[in-house]
C-alpha cells in the first residue's frame, strides 16, 4: 500500500531552520539571561556566581514593587479606553462609505507617527504658559495656562495616558475593523428583519463574533502597556521622584545607570514571568465558551 505521507526525515529537515532560529535567538539568550541573573554581572569589571541573591534583592527592593505597581495602574487606566475608542472608531469607518478611507487614515496616523515623535511633540506642547495644551485650556477658561504637567505625578500620568490612548487606539481600530468586515452581512440583515435595534445588533452579533479579535487587541494592549518605556523616558524620565517610573524603566536604570546587569536581568526575568501569567489569565478569561 502506498502512502501519501513524506518520510520523517523530510519533515525534520523542513522544520530545522525554524527550530534553529528559535534556539539561537530565543532559547540560547534566555538561558544566558538566566545564567547572568545568577551572577553579580556588572557592565564593568569581573563577575562571580551569587546564586539567587539578585532575586532576593529584587523582590525586597521597594523600587521594583513601586514601579510594578505604577505599571499595573497605568495598564489599568489605558486598556479599556484604548479598546472602547478603537471600537468606536472601527464602527465609524467599517463601512465603505464615501470618506471612510480618509477617516481611517486620519485615525491611524498617530500610531504611524509613533510614540517617540509624539512624546517629543508633547514635551513642547505641555510646557507651562507656552505649550499648546495650556494655551487651549486657558482659552477654554479651564486653567490659567501655567500648569506644569510633567512635574506632577498624577498630572503627568493623566497626560501620558491621554496621549497613549490617542496613539494606540488607531491600531485597535484597524484590527477590530478587519474583524467586523469579516462578519457576513446576512447575519445583520436577518437580525434587522427580526426587529433588532442597532445596539442589539452590536451587542448580540458584532461583539460575540469579534470575541477572538477583541481578546487579541486587549492582550496586545496589555503587553504593550506592561513594556511601556519610550513615552515615560522622554516626557518624565520617571519623575518627579519616582512617581512615573515604569517597571521597564526601573530595569533600564538598574542595567545602564547602576550598571548592574545581573540584578537587571533578574528583574527582567521576573517581569517575563509576571507578563506570562497575566497573559495566560487573559487567555483564560477571554477564551471561547460553548
Amino acid at each position: 500500500m502506498s502512502t501519501l505521507t513524506h518520510p520523517r526525515r523530510t519533515g525534520l529537515a523542513l522544520i530545522t531552520p525554524a527550530v534553529a532560529l528559535v534556539v539561537v535567538f530565543v532559547f540560547v539568550p534566555l538561558v544566558v539571561a538566566v545564567y547572568i541573573s545568577l551572577t553579580n554581572f556588572p557592565l564593568i569589571g569581573p563577575y562571580r556566581f551569587i546564586g539567587f541573591d539578585n532575586y532576593a534583592s529584587v523582590l525586597t527592593d521597594p523600587t521594583f514593587w513601586d514601579s510594578l505597581g505604577y505599571t499595573l495602574l497605568y495598564t489599568a487606566i489605558v486598556t479599556l479606553p484604548i479598546l472602547l475608542l478603537g471600537y468606536g472608531l472601527a464602527v465609524l469607518v467599517r463601512s465603505n462609505r464615501r470618506g471612510a478611507t480618509l477617516l481611517r487614515t486620519i485615525f491611524f496616523v498617530p500610531f504611524v507617527i509613533g510614540l517617540t515623535t509624539l512624546s517629543f511633540l508633547m514635551l513642547l506642547e505641555a510646557q507651562p504658559n507656552s505649550g499648546m495644551v495650556n494655551v487651549v485650556l486657558r482659552f477654554l477658561g479651564i486653567t490659567d495656562g501655567s500648569t506644569a504637567w510633567l512635574v506632577d505625578g498624577p498630572l503627568a500620568t493623566g497626560l501620558l495616558c491621554v496621549m497613549v490612548v490617542w496613539a494606540a487606539s488607531g491600531l485597535t481600530m484597524v484590527l477590530l475593523m478587519s474583524g467586523m468586515q469579516g462578519i457576513p452581512r446576512e447575519v445583520y440583515e436577518s437580525a434587522e428583519m427580526d426587529g433588532a435595534s442597532w445596539w442589539q445588533r452590536e451587542m448580540q452579533i458584532t461583539v460575540p463574533m469579534l470575541r477572538r479579535t477583541i481578546a487579541m487587541t486587549v492582550i496586545l494592549s496589555v503587553i504593550g502597556s506592561f513594556l511601556a518605556f519610550t513615552q515615560f523616558y522622554i516626557l518624565t524620565q520617571g519623575g518627579p521622584g519616582s512617581e512615573t517610573t515604569t517597571i521597564v524603566m526601573a530595569i533600564y536604570r538598574r542595567a545602564f545607570v547602576q550598571l548592574q546587569l545581573g540584578a537587571a536581568t533578574a528583574m527582567s526575568l521576573v517581569l517575563v514571568v509576571i507578563t506570562g501569567l497575566v497573559t495566560a489569565a487573559q487567555f483564560w478569561l477571554l477564551r471561547e465558551r460553548s
Partner: protein, 437 residues
Amino acid sequence: MELTRRQLLALAGVATASAALAGCGGTLRPADIEAAGFGEDASGTLNLWCRSDTVNGTQAVVDAFHQAQDRIRVRLTPIQNGQYVTKLATAIRGGRVPDVVDIDDIYSTLFAYRGAFTDLTPLIDDLGIGAALSPGHLALSTKDGRRYGLPFIGDFSVLFCNTELFDRAGLSVEEQTRDFAGLLDAARAIGGLGDDVYGWSYPGNSSGALGFTVQPHVWATGRDLIAGDVGNQRGDVAGNDALRSTLDFARTLWSENLVPPGSFADDASRWSADYAAGRLGMFPASFGVVVPNSSQELLDRTQVVLLPGPDGGHAFFDGGDNLCMLNGARNPSAAWEFMKFAVDVQQQSRMPEGFYSPVRSDVVTPEFAESYPFVVPPLEALDSGYAPTTLAYNLIYNQQDGPWLRMFRQAVFDGEVDAAMQEAQTTYDRILRQAQA
C-alpha cells in the same frame, strides 16, 4: 542523521556556554608606562573619546596638537552625554577600547574603582604641576592614593551677580554674598526693584543642575550629603544642619517670590534666559552657561563670586573632565603624549575661548585675568572646589527620579523639609548600598 533529545540539549548547552563566555570577555591589561621612551616620539593613530558637551574644547586641543607635530593623528569620537558611561562600559566589556577618554570627572571614579583605567601616578608626578592642578578633579580619579586621571577641562559652579541691579538696590556684591542672611536681604531688595526683576533663580526640575549649584552651599561648611569612604558610604542627610539651612534658604526664596515662577518647572533648558535678559540679581551657574548666552553689555556689569555657606565660607562644584588612559589601549605612548600636551599652560590658557575653565591655577596672569575675569575666582581658590567621590553620583544627583531632586522639590515647593530629608536619607542609603554591593 537524526539528533536524539539528549544530543540536542548538549548542543544547546555548548552554544549557551560559548555565548556566555564570548559576552564576558577578559580583563584588559594596563600599559607599561615605565618603559623607556614612553610618551615621547610616539606615532600612529590615537583614538580619543570625548563628551558631546565638550567636543568644541577637545577639538581645539586636538587641532593644536596636530599643528604641533605630525607623527600622531588623533581620531576624535564624540559620545552623547547620556550614553557615555554605557558606551564606554560596553567597549571595555567588548575588549575594544579607545586609547584615551575625556570623561566627566564625576564618572571617572566609577571606572577607576572598577579597574578600567591605567595607573598614571608616576607620570603625573613627573609633570611637576600637581600643586597647580584642580584637587577636586584629581580626587575623583584617585583610588588608594593612586592617580587614574589627569584633569583636563574645568566646569565650576559660581555665583554671577548683576552689579547694576545691586547698585540700584544700594547693595555691595562683596558684603551681601558672604552668607545666606546677606543673600536673602539682597534678593528681597533686588526683587523690590520691579515686577519682572528677581533676586535669585534655580532650575527646580533639573536634578543635575541643582546638584551642581545647590550642593556647594552645604560643602562650604565642610560637610557633604554622603559620608564615609567608597565601599562603605552612607547618606548624611537627616540631621544635616547645613543641608537643612540650604533647603530652608531655597524654600524662603520660593515662598517669598524671590525666584521667577518658571523655576518650579525649569528643567534647565532655559536656565540662563532670565539672567541673560538682565532680570536676575544673582544666578548660580557656570561660565559656560552664562557667557555664551549673554550680551557684552550685561557681562560688563557682571561680577562673579564663590557660593557661600549658610554662615560663611565658600565652595564650588569642581566639575569638568578628566583625561584617562584605558587599560588595553593600543597606542598608550601616543596617549600620554597627547595628555601632556592637553594640560600644558598654553592649551589650558585657551580653554575659556571655548567657554570652559582651565584646571590649573598657574594659568592666571594679569593678562589672563583681564581677558577672562569670570573664571578667575575658582582658580584662585581651587582648594574650595569639591565633588563627592562616590560610585552612586549619577543615580543620586543626575537622574530625574533620584532622591536629590525629590528631596529638593518636596522641601522647597511643598515646604516639607524634615519629611523630605528623612525620606531622602533612606533612599540615599539604599542606593549607596546597591552601588557598593
